[in-house]
Amino acid sequence: MFLHIVKKELLEHLMSLRFAVACVLCFVVILASLFVRSQEHAMAMQDYHQAVAAEEAERERMYAPWQLVWRGVNVHRRPTPLRIFVEGHRVGTSGVRVDAMHRPTFVSAELQNPHAVVFPAMDLVSFGGIIMSLLAIVFGYDAICGEKERGTLRLMLSYAVPRDRVLLGKWVGGYLALIIPFLLSVLSGGALLQLQPEIEFTPSEWTRLTVVAGLTLVYIAAVYSAAIWVSGLTRRGSTSIMVLLMLWMVVVLAVPNLAPHLAQAWRPTRDSHEMESARQLAVRQAREEFEQKRRNLSSQPGPWTDLQGRDRSLALRAGRLELQRDASLSAMQELSRLEENFRAELDEQIAISRWIARLSPFASYVMATAELADAGLLTQRHFRDRVRAYQEGVTEYAFDQWIEPLRVELETGERPPRGEDDEPVPSFTYQAPAGREYMRAVIVDAGLLMALTIAFFLMGYVTFLRYDVR
């Protein structure tokens, strides 16, 4: 009997106009979005390869360590193909300039395309979160009250059919009809993407993409369950759809977008100029300390103490460079400490805004998928930390390359030629965070989504058990 009900629900949906509309929307929008975004990704990969090649050539042309100290190198993060599916954060996804004397400069890709700020790109998450949730409402709003209006619910329940079977059959049949066009279009789009050679997923990316797809299905199930519940609370389809659409507007569109502002009002952070003033003060103090030490260097004991003439001048020069290196590293560490303080303040605000936003399942869905797709806070911070660590490594390397020939010249009397014995400039290799870090970042949101799905289904169940079918 249960399978009969599922079959009946499925056929009813498959032969309805709403299923046709869902198919059209899913296939057209998802395929268009995946195509357009994959082209964007291909362009980003091309830019990435060109930038890496240009950077390699630039390093080859470097003839003196001071160039590395003052001009530095550009580091690039390989664009992840997961961004085809999830847009997430736009900042900090392009190249970073790293040298020994300035803080890393993160270039924002959004400055290239201001329209993308006003009209963020349609990705799978916006489609799943907004459009599929609307479709879930359209599929579920008259699941119970619609059948009551038509008179078929009374007829069905006049047989010895338990109400729980009826509800479960409706849920399964309707949900299958809802996700069939979505899954087919995503799988078709995914298959087409595989044909493009620039798009390669690592095993970790495949796993995370699967989890994103899973979360999308759970989110759609949550909204569909809510639609069935409201359908069981009302007598007429028009009332049910009105209530659902109003709730949808508030829960999906209003609450998540209000949350960061409410958190900002509740727990404001210091302004950017305070942070910048603190940074500039730290850099200035480090510089003044360095200048003072540099001026007094010759009167301090050191390797130059017993030397005269050219040897003394070489030793002093090496000494000054060591001071400069230590001052740069010390300034970098002080800046990191300052940034940690500001970050701690911001983290409190972010935590509050996350919890307010979690009143909406849409916000949980968006936050979780952004983290999984390397477009969230976890990856942003991970990347920045790696860049800072790399900056310290490059600083040590650059100054060592500058100081070492002076030492050799001091010992041997001859400056060693720049050649193949020189160590290559350390290259920046970015490793994504470990799998457990991703899980830690998304566990709360994923758990909330599943809990909501179960809660809405149970509420729908209790409501339907007491539903007056007359």
């Binding site: 964007e40 009105m242 209003a254 900002q264």
Partner: protein, 462 residues
């Protein structure tokens, strides 16, 4: 008879549950968005004043440095000059591209400018989620409410059986349609005007909205365009209602069209334009400029080698300056090339987006509130001008100091150093930018209404 029809429509809407819920939602959404935006704007204005003060103090400290060379180094190399960027006074109505503007611009010598990185003080959730401002509320939510108001205007009455009854009397169909349109639109505008009035009153009490001539005209124009935009979806749902037999079908089609017009097309347009008209990345332009720098450095080295002992003479100095000017001019050409390519891409994105009333509304609203593309371009222009003027100042002071071996320092004060001056478009300029979008909205309204009219004349009421 027409007035009777009008009265019937108005009463029918007012006494429905739909009106009550819509009224409540209008009030909550519009007022909530204005409340959040007004408070944010007030904080931004206070923060701007703090930043201006902090920047003045920082500059005074640099200029108070004892030694001239240290002063020169700090001003043009190490710390530079900070200028606070003032947001649009109408950003509380629509954020637009204001989020992309930095709070402060830092300028150093050699044309280097930097935006203060906001990543450590600005919540990343603001990037992930949309800002709930008036423009967004009208764009997404009020358009949907307009659809919910009218999707069953014709087919719903047919299902109830009252349409047949009404038309069995000697009532012209165009009177019926016009009565429905005017009655429904008046009732829809009522909560909108109440909510907006409340929001403006709140903005006025917070000192954010000053009722001078320009502000009143801008706000009035924005509300007018918002009413036009809502009317477009109102007419669309009336048209769809006049082509379908069942309310559920009408709702489904209306929702489908709303999704396409509001969510799909405007959001796919920028990415499509990016593919059709690609721009070089800022890094590739930077690489080209660095290649120019390398070439100029090599030329300077050659000049130094050729001049030998005369490398510090006046003629050599002039030649070096000439090489610097050549380098600056070539780099400017790269910047212009990048801006031209980007302008082509953004124009194409805007053209593609204008296929829908949603994009027209957003472009018109952001032009009126000075938070759109024109303002962003004004910011970039001001920043470039500041970088050039600041570098010229650096050359002038550097030349003087080299000639006097650091003993002379010109009379440099905070007032005579180049500053950041960003000019937001005037009201006339904003209106010019918004005119095309307003015209498109008018045309869309007329088109949808005419379609509704034509289909209703042929509608089978049995």
């Amino acid at each position: 008879m027409f007035l009777t029809l009008l009265r019937k429509e108005i009463l029918g809407h007012i006494l429905s549950l739909r009106f009550g819920v819509t009224f409540a939602l209008f009030l909550v959404l519009v007022f909530a968005s204005m409340y959040v935006a007004v408070n944010k704007h007030r904080n931004d204005v206070d923060s701007y004043a703090d930043r201006v003060r902090a920047n003045e103090e920082a500059l005074e400290q640099v200029l108070a440095e004892d030694r001239s060379w240290d002063r020169y180094r700090r001003l043009f190399y190490d710390e530079g000059k900070n200028d606070a960027v003032r947001g649009s006074p109408y950003a509380w109505l629509g954020e637009g591209l204001q989020g992309a503007l930095p709070a402060t611009v830092n300028t150093k010598g050699y044309g280097r400018t930097e935006n203060f990185e906001a990543a450590l003080v600005r919540s990343p959730l603001l990037e992930l989620l949309r800002t709930l401002d008036f423009v967004y509320v009208v764009n997404v939510m009020l358009s949907l409410l307009a659809i919910l108001f009218m999707f069953d205007a014709v087919c719903g009455e047919k299902e109830d059986g009252t349409l047949r009854l009404m038309l069995s009397n000697a009532v012209p169909r165009h009177d019926v349609l016009l009565g429905k349109w005017i009655g429904g639109y008046l009732v829809l505008q009522l909560p909108f005007l109440v909510a907006v009035g409340g929001g403006l009153l709140y903005a006025y009490t917070q000192g954010v909205f000053q009722p001078d001539r320009e502000s009143l005209l801008r706000v009035g124009l924005l509300m007018g365009v918002a009413a036009l935009y809502i009317a477009a979806f109102f007419n669309l749902s009336l048209f769809v209602s006049a082509t379908t037999q069942r309310a559920s079908t009408s709702l489904l089609v209306c929702l489908f069209l709303w999704v396409v017009f509001v969510l799909v097309v405007p959001n796919l347009a920028p990415v499509t334009a990016k593919i059709l008209e690609p721009t070089p990345t800022p890094q590739s332009i930077q690489a080209e400029k660095e290649a120019v720098d390398n070439e100029i450095e090599l030329k300077k080295d050659r000049v130094t080698q050729i001049s030998g002992d005369l490398q510090y003479g006046e003629a050599v100095e002039e030649e070096m300056e000439e090489l610097d000017r050549e380098g600056a001019q070539r780099k400017r050409k790269w910047d212009q090339y990048y801006l031209q390519r980007r302008a082509k891409q953004t124009d194409l994105a805007a053209t593609l987006g204008r296929l829908t009333p949603s994009a027209c509304w957003v472009y018109a609203a952001t032009s009126i509130t000075n938070t759109g593309l024109e303002s962003y371009e004004a910011f970039e222009k001001a920043r470039r001008q500041l970088a050039e003027a600041f570098d010229q100042k650096r050359e002038e002071i550097g030349r003087l100091m080299r000639r006097s071996r650091g003993s002379e320092w010109p009379d440099v004060t905070a007032q005579n150093l180049p500053s950041f001056h960003m000019r937001y478009p005037t009201l006339q300029g904003s209106l010019q930018h918004a005119l095309n979008d307003i015209l498109i909205l008018v045309i869309v309204n007329v088109l949808f209404f005419m379609l509704a009219f034509v289909f209703f004349l042929r509608y089978d009421v049995r």
